[in-house]
Structure formats: structure tokens, C-alpha cells
């Protein structure tokens, strides 16, 4: 990957230089004065003399080259191959709440497939009045909805169960993205096929699967299927990206990302759960005594400070500092986030950039004045159900170390006096 040369890249050198400069600046914080006229101001620059690109240069643009570090990254040793694998959203470098699709994480079980709209078919079968086949064009003719939701992999932070392992918010918390989806409610499609054949809907399930070789089949109780599940074909205003399920994916608000079946091809109404591979062998959470939880669908309230963080060190020395991060909950809306700078001894409420939305990412800020001393930075989310984000010790006490999934523990960054941050655990 492109970052493999990062050790000697200009940005790396720039960073190390700026840390050194920050050290010096810290002494005279708040008293910055120009040593002399700045040539970026006093000399006419190329961009102020010549012209830039024409409007025909970039029919569909990518970020400017100077943002080349804001990319998905993978961790080679995590999986046997890159086909059934994961990569990570660069959340340390993003702001706001909407994830740019081009760097939003991917998780495939048999790769990202290319499926044309013309070749796309969606089948609804099982306990319905009339099994149906829809084309892509059919789906666009149903009444449409728009919602913003987070999709968090059940395994997000999973490598951190046993201890502090990966050094960066991208790696510890980046199996997540947050998009505005446009699509049809699953309820509308199920009602089009007719549910009277299913009888009492209370004990019914739907089984959903994708068109890819892995199929990623999952069972969803009918109550959720009829509540807020979306069959989505647009995200952040445009068609889904290939790697996110083009042309159609399932959106299952608040629930673990595995259930957000991509390249959705079939929905079957059933009497019971299939207990497929992805809800028995995987996405079950083993407890200390060797028994395992199944059907742990909801993603509990969680948060992380995205900056400063190991990949986003403080380079400006002491003085005004923006501490920022993300909070989210599959149980409802975020109602508050507290931030600690001393490892949890004391907390202060952060400012939410906007009121928390149901099952969506929420941006928080703590505008502070850093005195240049070490910090143990933490954030703690609260949601509309009253849930308060726990510590890792609290989770371990109930679950042990082997549950792999659903680690929503409070994260600690150790910010040193030189502004460098590290992933740590604290007592």
C-alpha cells in the first residue's frame, strides 16, 4: 500500500520538524511573533500569478494530493488474506459526522463484487402471499426515505479486548462509517409481497443474504424488519460504492455491521432463525465460562477521542487546543459526552456539535487550554436510553477476554508533553 513508504515520506519529516518546533513554541506560548516578513505573503506565489485547472480537468474528483494520508488502511496480520478481511476508516483525520464514501471502511467475506443494476435482482420469498422478484428499476419506484445511520462492525475495537494493541484511533475504532441513506423501507417491500400468509408476525423472522459467494446470510426478527430497516441504494447522495454493496444494501440501524447485508439479493420470511454461519461460528460472543452469547445485535453506546490521538498528535505546543471525537449508540441518540484529561479522575461535559441523532454518529468538542503537561484523555458517552459507556474493566468483569465482538469500552490516549499520543490502558 502507499503508506508503506511513509517512514521516509515528506509528511513524516514535516511532522517530526513540527514537533521540534512545537517544543520550542511551548516556552513562549501565546507570544508568537514573526521573526521577519513571511515570503508566502511578501513574494507573489505561483498560484496567485498563473491559473489553476479548468472545470473539465476532473469530472469526478478525488481529494487533493496533500490529503494523501487520509485513506483506508488494513492490518495485514489480522486475517489470512485480503479478500475476507477488513480495512479501517481514517477517523483520526475526519471531522463532522458524515464519512466520505471513498475512505469509509470495508469488510468483505469474499471480496467486493461488481454487480450491474441491469443484472440486479431482489427476491422476496418464504411465508409471503406472493413471492416476488424486483429489478433495480422497480425499487426506485417505491416511496423513498432518507436517514443518517452509523454502520459499525461488530469487531470494531475487538483487537483491544486483551490490552492496548494498535496505536491509532483508525485501527482501534475505525471499523465504522456514517452515511445518509436513501432507499425503501423493508416494511414496504414485505407488505408488497403480503404478510398475511405468515400469520402471527410476532414469532417470525426474515433471512437476508447477498449476491456474493459468501452470501453473508443473517436472520433478523420480524419486529426489527418491520421497524426501521432500509433497503438502500444511495449513500451520501450518490449510488452506493461497489465495496459498500452497489447497487443495493440493507441498512439495519443501530445493529452490528455484519447484518447490513451488501449486494442484497434475497429476503425470506421464515418461522425461525436459520442459525447461519455468520450467527453461530461468527458474531457470537464467548464468555469466560465458555458459553457464548448469540444474537447480540445492538451496538451499545460508545465514543472515542479522534484528536489528539496517536495518528493526530498535538503539533502546536501549549495553548488553545481542540479536543474532538465521535460518540454513537445503537440504543438511541447520544445525549452527552464527558471528557477526562486525567485518566478518569475527573470529567467535564463536552459540547455536542449538534443534538444527537438516533443511531448516528455525533461529533463532540472540548475547547480547552493545554498547559503542555501530560494528559490521559478519555471520553464517555451517554445515550437516550440512560446507558453510560463502561470501562474495559467493567466489561471484562462480565465477559472475560474472549468475546471478540462488542467492545464499547472507554479508550485512553496518553498525550505526552511533546504532544505525541499513545494507546494505553490505565488502572
Amino acid at each position: 500500500m502507499s503508506e508503506s513508504s511513509g517512514k521516509h515520506s515528506p509528511s513524516r519529516r514535516r511532522f517530526l520538524t513540527s514537533v521540534a518546533a512545537a517544543g520550542a513554541g511551548a516556552v513562549a506560548a501565546g507570544a508568537a511573533r514573526a521573526a521577519g516578513p513571511d515570503p508566502l505573503i511578501t513574494e507573489v506565489q505561483d498560484w496567485a500569478r498563473a491559473t489553476g485547472d479548468g472545470v473539465d480537468a476532473t469530472p469526478y474528483g478525488l481529494p487533493i494530493e496533500y490529503e494523501g494520508d487520509v485513506i483506508r488502511r488494513n492490518v495485514e496480520w489480522l486475517t489470512a488474506d485480503t479478500i475476507s478481511s477488513i480495512n479501517f476508516t481514517p477517523i483520526h483525520a475526519l471531522d463532522g459526522t458524515i464519512t466520505p464514501q471513498g475512505c469509509a471502511f470495508e469488510r468483505h467475506h469474499s471480496g467486493a463484487i461488481a454487480l450491474k443494476k441491469e443484472d440486479y435482482r431482489l427476491m422476496i420469498n418464504g411465508l409471503v402471499d406472493q413471492p416476488l422478484v424486483f429489478s433495480y428499476a422497480d425499487l426506485e419506484r417505491f416511496p423513498r426515505e432518507n436517514h443518517v445511520y452509523f454502520c459499525e462492525c461488530a469487531a470494531n475495537s475487538g483487537m483491544e479486548w486483551a490490552g492496548a494493541q494498535l496505536n491509532g484511533a483508525q485501527f482501534t475504532h475505525g471499523m465504522i462509517h456514517n452515511m445518509e441513506y436513501s432507499g425503501v423501507s423493508l416494511r414496504t417491500l414485505l407488505e408488497e409481497a403480503g404478510l398475511s400468509a405468515a400469520g402471527d408476525l410476532k414469532d417470525k423472522w426474515v433471512y437476508v443474504e447477498g449476491a456474493d459467494a459468501s452470501s453473508n446470510g443473517r436472520s433478523i426478527p420480524m419486529e426489527k424488519a418491520l421497524d426501521d430497516v432500509l433497503v438502500a441504494f444511495k449513500a451520501n447522495g450518490e449510488a452506493l460504492r461497489k465495496e459498500h454493496g452497489y447497487p443495493v444494501r440493507l441498512v439495519v440501524p443501530g445493529w452490528e455491521g455484519n447484518m447490513w447485508v451488501k449486494w442484497l439479493r434475497r429476503i425470506e420470511v421464515m418461522d425461525g432463525p436459520v442459525e447461519s454461519r455468520e450467527e453461530t461460528s461468527k458474531y457470537t460472543d464467548t464468555l469466560e465460562d465458555g458459553t457464548s452469547r448469540k444474537w447480540t445485535w445492538v451496538m451499545d453506546a460508545k465514543s472515542v477521542v479522534t484528536s489528539p490521538s496517536p495518528q493526530a498528535p498535538i503539533t502546536h505546543g501549549a495553548g488553545p487546543l481542540v479536543i474532538t471525537g465521535l460518540a454513537w449508540s445503537g440504543r438511541g441518540a447520544i445525549t452527552g459526552v464527558d471528557v477526562s484529561m486525567d485518566g478518569g479522575k475527573s470529567w467535564q461535559p463536552a459540547r455536542l456539535a449538534a443534538p444527537g441523532q438516533d443511531k448516528a454518529l455525533t461529533r463532540f468538542y472540548l475547547d480547552t487550554n493545554w498547559d503542555g503537561s501530560e494528559m490521559l484523555l478519555q471520553s464517555r458517552a451517554r445515550d437516550s436510553s440512560g446507558y453510560v459507556q463502561p470501562t474495559k474493566a467493567q466489561l471484562r468483569e462480565v465477559r472475560g477476554l474472549n468475546s471478540i465482538y462488542h467492545n464499547n469500552a472507554i479508550q485512553t490516549w496518553w498525550v505526552k508533553a511533546n504532544g505525541v499520543a499513545e494507546n494505553v490502558e490505565v488502572s
Binding site: 511532522f15 514537533v19 434475497r266 425470506e268 447461519s276 494507546n423
Partner: protein, 196 residues
């Protein structure tokens, strides 16, 4: 044409449903007629599966181990296989049939899938070498960890820690760093300050 509320879509044909509706439930619903022996399975497995999963389903390199790990679920590093962890044999049949071999899925006949699953049982010491698996006996076969799963109980088992009013001041006397990611040093180079 079918007329639901919107009258969109068209009736699915039986052949189409048969082609896509392949899932098998724990009670055996969805299994096609067929059978396969451990003996046949050894051959089919060697030809289609062993390159990644090993001759004895023990796994090659980082590829999944399908056998072994009995009694390890309550240990530090549990080994979760079909034998030690999976609750239902239907899942093994369903998953192999639909999604294996990796890179050439849906290429096996029902009899081959029965044979492979029989061989996986044999590799887990759960059947003898003369065992034959079929649509008749699959659902009744009980895997060792069939009773090893509970339905999500976070709402009750964890309520004690998330319902408490959070502490804001003087929450603890001391804070010590107990673990550091830098010590492990397994993070890819990704900007930031690993070397600083």
C-alpha cells in the same frame, strides 16, 4: 401480474426460488436428498479443501481450523471449530454448500457436501470412519456445543454498570498506565508519531 399495494415486481417462479433459496435450518428444512461417507469425504476434501484447511481439517497457516479445540472454550485462547464450537450441523452443510470452496463457491454437488461434512465430523473424532451422512440423519446429529449458547442478556447481565449515575469529580485517587500499544509495536505505519 401480482398486485400488491404498488403492483411492482413480478411473481417469482418456482425454478428461481429453487435456485436461490438454499438455506438450511437446524431442523433440516432445506436439505436436498443425498448422502456422503467419511471415505468419500476424505477424497473430496483432499481435492477441494485441504490446500487451505489441511489434510485433517487442522488448518494451514492462518486459514481456519475446522477440527480440534475440544474443551478450550473457557480457556485463554479458545480454538473454535465445527467440533468444539458450532451448535448445529445444518450450518456446516449450508455454509459449505453455498460459500465453499473459497474462490469457487457453489461448485459442489449435494453428495459431495454431505461427504465433506461427514469427513469434518470424522476429523473432529465425532464419528467412525464408516459413517455416512445424509438428509435423513443430519438434523438429528448433535454437536458437542449445541447447548453452549445463550440469547443476548446484556440488558440484565450488564445493567449494573451502565445505569449508574456517572462520577464527575474525585472518581479515583490514582491512575497508573498498565498497558502500552507501543510495547507490542504491531501497528502499520500510518502517520502520527510512532517513532517520535
Amino acid at each position: 401480474a401480482w398486485a400488491g399495494e404498488f403492483g411492482l415486481g413480478r411473481p417469482a417462479l418456482p425454478e428461481e426460488i429453487a435456485a436461490w433459496d438454499l438455506d438450511v435450518s437446524p431442523d433440516g428444512t432445506g436439505l436436498p436428498a443425498g448422502s456422503g461417507s467419511v471415505e468419500d469425504g476424505e477424497m473430496v476434501f483432499a481435492d477441494n479443501c485441504a490446500i487451505c484447511h489441511g489434510d485433517f481439517a487442522e488448518g494451514v497457516d492462518n486459514w481456519p481450523k475446522l477440527a480440534g479445540g475440544m474443551g478450550t472454550l473457557d480457556r485463554d485462547d479458545p480454538l473454535k471449530t465445527v467440533g468444539s464450537y458450532w451448535p448445529h450441523l445444518s450450518t456446516a452443510w449450508d455454509y459449505v454448500n453455498r460459500s465453499m470452496p473459497f474462490g469457487n463457491a457453489q461448485s459442489l454437488s449435494p453428495d459431495e457436501v454431505y461427504a465433506i461434512v461427514a469427513y469434518i465430523l470424522y476429523s473432529n473424532d465425532l464419528v467412525d470412519d464408516d459413517f455416512v451422512l445424509s438428509n435423513e440423519n443430519l438434523a438429528a446429529f448433535e454437536l458437542p456445543n449445541a447447548e453452549g449458547f445463550i440469547i443476548d442478556d446484556r440488558e440484565t447481565a450488564e445493567a449494573h454498570f451502565w445505569t449508574a449515575e456517572p462520577c464527575m469529580e474525585n472518581c479515583k485517587d490514582t491512575v497508573e498506565i498498565t498497558m502500552r500499544a507501543r510495547v507490542l509495536d504491531v501497528t502499520p505505519d500510518a502517520g502520527g508519531a510512532e517513532e517520535a
